[in-house]
């Protein structure tokens, strides 16, 4: 029986009647196909182990030439029996990242230097604008008077990322993300950053109270 005949069964539930039409062939075929696909999927990844596990994909992201056949450290995962968690190596200190580094991952190109030569602004208007912006943003980490806090002291003779106007502009523009300083270049324009940087240079040597101990290298 494969055509829709719309014949009523003798079912009657509170007035609800039922036909017993056949399952649409496309529906039943779709069901079969997904079941076959499921079996093949499990075979491919967990029985034949032809497929890459998550972690294998990850290794390939770092090294496209990597394959498990060539990797002497590769241990085949077993399905359920002898199970181990996928991203976990007994020697937790050995990670794909370290392997990738040892194998020499392509060196990231050096940061493109800002070739533009800046000249610190000195006019009162720019400096006061720079100060105004400093007090809105930089103050949270570097203090009201540049004495430092979360971030380093800006008034002493020690600098972590360079002391020239070009250095300061670069630091402010790119930030120091690993220490929590934002890349302000994405928030402010170049002109504003130059004003902030120029202001920062004006507070050098002001010896504010509660200074943060020196960090970085001495620049006289």
């Amino acid at each position: 029986m494969s055509e829709v005949k719309d014949e009523l069964l003798d079912h009657d539930y509170d007035g609800i009647r039922e036909y017993d039409n056949p399952l649409p062939p496309w529906w039943i075929n779709m069901f079969y196909i997904t079941i076959v696909w499921a079996v093949l999927y499990l075979l491919y990844f967990h029985v034949t182990e032809w497929g890459d596990r998550s972690i294998d994909e990850y290794k390939k992201e770092y090294d496209q030439t990597w394959s498990k056949d060539k990797d002497p450290n590769y241990s085949a995962p077993k399905f359920v029996v002898g199970y181990h968690a996928p991203y976990y190596s007994m020697k937790a200190d050995i990670t794909p990242k370290m392997i990738a580094e040892k194998m020499g991952k392509p060196e990231a190109p050096k940061e493109v230097e800002i070739i533009k030569d800046y000249v610190a602004l000195t006019d009162a208007g720019s400096i006061s604008k720079g100060k105004e912006m400093y007090l809105k943003t930089c103050v949270a980490c570097h203090g009201m008077l540049g004495e430092g806090g979360i971030g380093p002291n800006l008034t002493d003779d020690y600098w972590i990322h360079g002391s020239t106007i070009n250095d300061v502009v670069r630091t402010v523009t790119r930030g120091v993300p690993e220490k929590g300083m934002l890349a302000w270049g994405k928030i402010f324009g170049e002109e504003d950053i130059l004003k902030i940087s120029s202001y920062v240079l004006t507070i050098h040597g002001t010896n504010p109270p509660n200074p943060k101990p020196p960090q970085g290298s001495l620049v006289k």
Binding site: Y19, L23, V80, Y88, A92, D93
Partner: protein, 716 residues
């Protein structure tokens, strides 16, 4: 096949009996559905707006996104849809069984008990009393209450089935039975916890195992709370409203059993690329794919039942709502399996794509089916006709537009942000290394989404008025008279060889068969993951949390940080470059409960430890926008003011030891001193950085926890 004129089984049965359907309980659950639906949607709208206007919490902890989000999800799932299930079950079950509910008292206890649970949830969740497990956030005393009320409901359900005057159980009842059986199992297993106090407990499972149990629960809450009971409702109310026979009886048999057997396996698709074993992840994927056809079986039987009634769909708001509901169901149940494919999930997971997906289900399937049922039902209960068809049509179009405005921007936002996270520059650097940039990019989409939510809620409000006026103009029929012959004791089957027909006559056997069907998948996934626990070598350098860190972790749970931050770095270059080494299963062995999260509104925190100075965290918690201008994270300034309740420390350590965390013997007596010492150190560090604070503040504990996160195996 036998023709309709075939003699009804029931004719051979006993004398005609007169009895009354209980409509009061149906009406009460309908009111509760509407009221809690409104509340759930309103809270959803508030938090949707908070996503771009975080100050909308007015600086009040109880109104902060991370505490309201669990309230929204719980309210929509268990209050709106929950009451919706009960209104539909209590109406249809009585009529399908040709019997009044087994016990009016149980009905009444069920109703008031469920409302009490909801009120308790609405109070405790904003107060921060939470287990930190999604959609299972309620603390253990409420969990116990839920179990009791649910079992009473089960007794009432089974009692009514047993005293039925209809020989066979209709497909709707099969779905009700599967719902009750499975939700019982899910709720009990996932909620097992060791109490510390009346308001605080620790999940007995840790880390990877907790994650597996939680998503076995979470996924099947979707399956057996949002799907199977509503399929049951569809099977009753849709043929009723359309006045058409169900398309195919045999399809209903096959898709019912396939659905409940397969659904239970699919939970691990919430944990793809996680630290869950690969084989379990793969089971999640393949069972999700196999679910497409069984899910669509329900869609087919719904839509094809409407053959011959499509002209009426254009006119009748009830059918309109139902058609969209079933279509949304079909879309969501196709999208779900697609999201379970690893390469799709790699992009979609942790983004708003998931949020869009679940709202197709919640707003479209559950919402619209509920609305359709209520529009059909209320005029019947009040023996009148709908007050305004025009208003119902307006509701339909406004809310339909609401779904579109909700979902489309969020799909856009999810894909955009997912791609931005993965974007590298040609130099091999992350293009958007500042997470915040990927957030500010999608804020316009958040704004559009909240407009969609507003539209949906507007439609619902129109419905409130329409239903109120309908009830007002009619006369409520509390006890509806009906007649049916009693069932004869002995039954002679008129058709031989129909095994399923036999099962439909045998409720107890049906319960057992259902239980077996749903236990297989869960058991085959969960038991191996636990049994081989000893085979999972713990990482030697991973140590239990210090007492202060443990307290800090509980604050992390209390504030609901997991609603926006994950603790799971997937093995993608784009994630390890951004966050650090990917997460290992062995790192979570002391995490009761796990806190992997499911959505990244903010960055992952699994390797946040040691990344910033204490002072950064201190300043950031007090006002995140100072360090991250444009951030959508609200201030948690109260943490810097509130004193940490350290008196619980020894009880917490003891509970952890009971759960197998290897603190030295007798450490519970030493813990408080250690806690204070560590707090002093952090406070001194903060003082040195210029922050005036003392060691007894909650924020110190949270900082201690954050600084510890992911550092045990940190790779330099």
């Amino acid at each position: 096949m036998e023709h309709a004129s075939k003699v009804q089984d029931s004719k051979a049965d006993g004398n005609l009996e007169t009895f009354h359907y209980d409509n009061t309980i149906v009406r009460d659950f309908t009111i509760a559905t509407l009221v809690w639906g409104g509340v759930g949607m309103l809270v959803g709208l508030i938090i949707a707006i908070q996503l771009y206007a975080p100050s909308l919490n007015f600086g009040i902890p109880y109104l902060t996104f991370s505490r309201l989000r669990p309230l929204h999800t719980n309210a929509v799932i268990f209050a709106f849809v929950g009451n919706g299930i009960f209104l539909g079950v209590y109406y249809s079950l009585q009529r399908l069984c040709k019997a009044r509910m087994f016990s009016d008292l149980l009905s009444s206890i069920h109703f008031w008990g469920w409302q009490l649970i909801i009120v308790l949830a609405a109070v405790t969740l904003p107060l921060g009393m939470t287990t930190g497990k999604e959609y299972a956030e309620l603390e253990w005393p409420i969990d116990v209450l839920i179990a009791v009320i649910w079992i009473l409901f089960g007794i009432n359900l089974l009692g009514t089935i047993l005293k039925r005057r209809e020989r066979h159980m209709y497909v709707a009842i099969w779905f009700y039975i599967a719902t009750w059986v499975t939700v019982t199992v899910l709720h009990v297993v996932n909620s097992l916890a060791i109490p510390i106090s009346l308001f605080k407990s620790y999940s007995i499972y840790a880390g990877v195992q907790d994650a597996l149990v939680q998503w076995w629960y979470g996924h099947n809450a979707v399956a057996f709370f949002l799907t199977t009971p509503y399929l049951g409702l569809m099977y009753y109310f849709m043929p009723k409203a359309a006045d058409r026979p169900v398309y195919s009886y045999r399809l209903s048999i096959i898709h019912f059993w396939a659905l409940i057997f397969l659904y239970i396996w699919a939970g691990p698709h919430h944990l793809l690329y996680s630290a869950l074993p690969d084989w379990a992840q793969s089971l999640g994927t393949v069972f999700s794919i196999m679910l497409i056809a069984p899910s669509w079986g329900g869609l087919l039987n719904g839509l094809l039942t409407l053959r011959g009634a499509w002209d009426r769909v254009r006119e009748d708001p009830v059918l309109k709502f139902m058609v969209v509901a079933v279509t949304a169901y079909g879309m969501a149940t196709f999208e779900g399996p697609m999201l379970s494919i690893k390469s799709v999930n790699a992009l979609s997971h942790f983004t708003d794509w998931t949020i869009a997906h679940v709202h197709i289900g919640a707003l479209g399937w559950n919402g619209f089916l509920t609305f359709g049922i209520i529009y059909w039902l209320i005029p019947k209960l009040y023996n009148t006709s709908l007050y305004s068809k025009k208003m119902a049509n307006a509701h339909f179009w406004i809310s339909f537009l609401g779904i579109v405005f909700y979902a489309v921007p969020l799909y856009w936002a999810g894909i955009t942000q997912g791609l931005m996270w993965k974007q590298f520059t040609p130099d091999g650097m992350l293009q958007y290394f500042n997470f915040l940039e990927t957030v500010t990019q999608i804020i316009p989409m958040y704004i559009l989404r909240s407009i969609g939510g507003t539209l949906f809620l507007t439609g619902t409000s129109i419905m409130f008025y329409n239903i109120y006026k309908t009830a007002k103009q009619g006369k409520f029929l509390a006890d509806e008279e009906a007649q049916a012959p009693a069932l004869a004791k002995v039954y002679h089957a008129t058709q031989k060889g129909q095994y399923h027909r036999w099962l439909e006559r045998k409720p107890v056997q049906f319960y057992v068969a259902t239980l077996i069907a749903i236990l297989i998948g869960g058991a085959l996934e969960i038991i191996p993951t636990f049994a081989i626990e000893s085979n999972v070598p713990t990482i030697a350098s991973v140590k239990p949390y210090t007492p202060l860190e443990l307290q800090g972790r509980d604050i992390y749970v209390r504030e609901g940080c997991y609603t926006c931050h994950s603790q799971l770095i997937r093995p993608f270059r784009s994630e390890t470059e951004r966050y650090g080494e990917y997460s290992k299963a062995g790192e979570y062995v002391y995490d009761h409960p796990f806190q992997w999260g499911s959505k990244r509104t903010g960055p992952d925190l699994h390797r946040i430890g040691g990344k910033y100075p204490n002072s950064w965290h201190y300043s950031h918690m007090i006002d995140p926008s100072v360090l991250s201008p444009g951030t959508v994270m609200p201030s948690y300034v109260w943490l810097a003011v509130k004193t940490l309740d350290a008196s619980t420390t020894s009880a917490k350590i003891k509970a952890m030891m009971k759960l197998g965390v290897p603190y030295p013997e007798g450490y519970e007596d030493q813990a408080l001193a250690d806690l204070q010492e560590q707090a002093e150190r952090i406070a001194k560090d903060l003082n040195d950085a210029g922050f005036e604070t003392t060691a007894d503040k909650e924020l110190n504990a949270l900082i201690a926890y954050l600084q510890r996160l992911g550092t045990d195996i940190k790779v330099k």
